[in-house]
Amino acid sequence: MKALRGLLRKESYHILRDRRTLTVIVVLPVLQVILFGFAIRTDVNDVRLAVVDPTPDYATIALRNRFDATGTFRTVAVLHRVDELSASFQTGAAQLAVVFEPRFAERLAHDGVARVQVITDATEPNTASARQSYAFAVIQDYERSVRAASNDVRIVPDGRLRFNPTRESSNLFVPGLMAMVLTIISALMTALSLTREKETGTMESLLVSPLRPVEIIVGKVAPYLLIGLLSVALILVEARFVFNVPMRGSIVLLVGEALLFILVSLSIGILVSARTSSQRVAMLIALVGTMLPNQLLSGFVFPVESLPRALQILSNVVPARWFVLIARGIMLKGVGLAYLWRETLILAGMALLLLALSARSFKVRLS
């Protein structure tokens, strides 16, 4: 026990004395959350709209006004022929075009059918389809209002967006960012701190000391656990005061879950370092192996439901996926353990499994 305390003290000195690293570890995540909180958005707003209206009449003008009134669309050009469109698409001046057929209102009144074409710049398919669906909604809305005058059946949907009514991007991404930042601090820093002892040869002296392997691990990771918790606190303060992200659930529970997630990440770090001998391989695995999967398979930006089936299954082993669910659940939905016990159990299971694995592979190195 006394030996462990000694090691803990040594590790704390290591971290505290290296002012530069310490500043970097504490300040950078805070800056990043601010930057990304503002920058990572998938809102589709300010869509540059081109209108092709060969014969303007009351119906096309009414529909055009509806587009302008949404606030999502901004009409940048009103053209008369479709072939004029190509240029505005190529320069990026327009992102979406609405093409009315000639004599639109007349056809609508007499034939009962009028045609309109929605053309999108689909280079980027994800936002293209979102823009397209917004345009569809505007046109359908208009269609319904035209029908209101007629004797047709109408079903009026009362749409409600739960948990994030304004669809504010930062409400979604700030809880997710917490997972990113915690992974870096916990997994990467631990992996490096252990391999470094190996590389510089000081691991030998640790191993011949009366410390048990478990104690060495505890001593090495405990300081990073504290730094991780400090980051959580800072990010939560930011979320509240900079981004006004709601905190509908229990903050104590969230901190507890964060602790669990940090434990999982730390054990990954230990495992990586136990299996590698140089800092550079540890770094490669930790960085290339965690950065993209964490960003893409955690539901942080792209919903897990949108993944192909096989990747959805694969995403189950990404710890960040569960933590993102938990963090959003607590912050946005205000749910407690009654709803999150499954995710919590999975994280706890991962932590136990990884800790056991890393303790074992660590022992192997002793012999």
């Binding site: 749409g159 669809r167 140089s278």
Partner: protein, 390 residues
Amino acid sequence: MSIVRGLRRVLALARAEVLHVVRDRAMTVQIVVMPIVQLLVLANAATFQIRDVPTYVVDYDRTTVSRGLIDAFTAGGLFHIVGTAPSAALANDALLRGRATMVLTIPNDFESSIVRTRVGRVQLELNAEKGSSVGIVQSYAGQILAAYSARLSIEVRPTTQLARAAPTQATPVRGAARIEIRAQGWYNATLNYKHYMVPGILVALMTMIGTLLTAQNIAREKEVGTLEQLNVTPITRGQFIAAKLLPFLALALINLTLGLIVARLVFAVPMRGSIMLLYGAAAVYLVVALGIGLWVSTIVETQQQAMFVTFFILMVYLLMSGLFTPVDSMPEWVRALSQLNPVRHFVTIARAILMKGAGPSEIARPMLILAAYGVAVLTLAVRQHTKRSA
């Protein structure tokens, strides 16, 4: 004479670097295999495509009309019913648990209200936690409702008009005003997001590996103490940086080649422009990316610091490059800031060459920015690197 000697020095040191990488098996595997695996897997991941909307139905009405509406939702294949119960509490629970993405509530006067007033109301509750896909789901649901009400218009005729309608109209369907919408996507007609993502992910992987390897390189020499030895050799600062840069540039180009082969053979990514132009642009871009790595390497003391700083720089670069989330959605000041991001420019170039078949004149602007960036970063790295140990 001195040029030849300088070149020899650079080559000798570069050769040492190559040997370092090649001899370390674990490392070679990481560098070559990991990017390919990630490209294969992750190119499938970056999509907002809606595959399936778990829906909870609260049907208070339980009539033929309400059941018809539910059938209309399931018939499309997109919405699948995860539960039906006339209980708002249970539905709310499903929403909270994340079991349902949408709750459709049909009030108990649904049918009678349609028959009496021709207007029915339903409630759609959506889990907005899912971000931007919610808007798309909402508009799908709107389309289904519109189609179903059009059908009802024929089936449920108001009693007063029943006599009139049948004989006068040959095609009763056309009785109502209808707007037919046709959609068209240009440049990527099938909306295949993989064609868009693969070049992006390839750039991301190339950048990560290149920057990381160069960043830890000099830091490692410092840590192990071999930098001292290099400092006492006659090599100049410029030669030193060049020797550190070239091997990794070659390595990254090999990565690019492998990635392009995968992109072509596995994902059938179109390559409409000149591949040579792409390589030329890649070489300029890599000087920037690796130069940043080297610069980081000269200012830090340990590999741990190098790693941490690189990780954060890369995260900022990647997330703000328009790779995953569109630059157009970002606020004005972030968009201005992203002009400083080399990844953004190269991603634009790569996509323009591959997808749109852009030539040298179309990509001139981002190329010039990258070139200027490269000169600046290299100057910085060379100046920062001192041969004196502090």
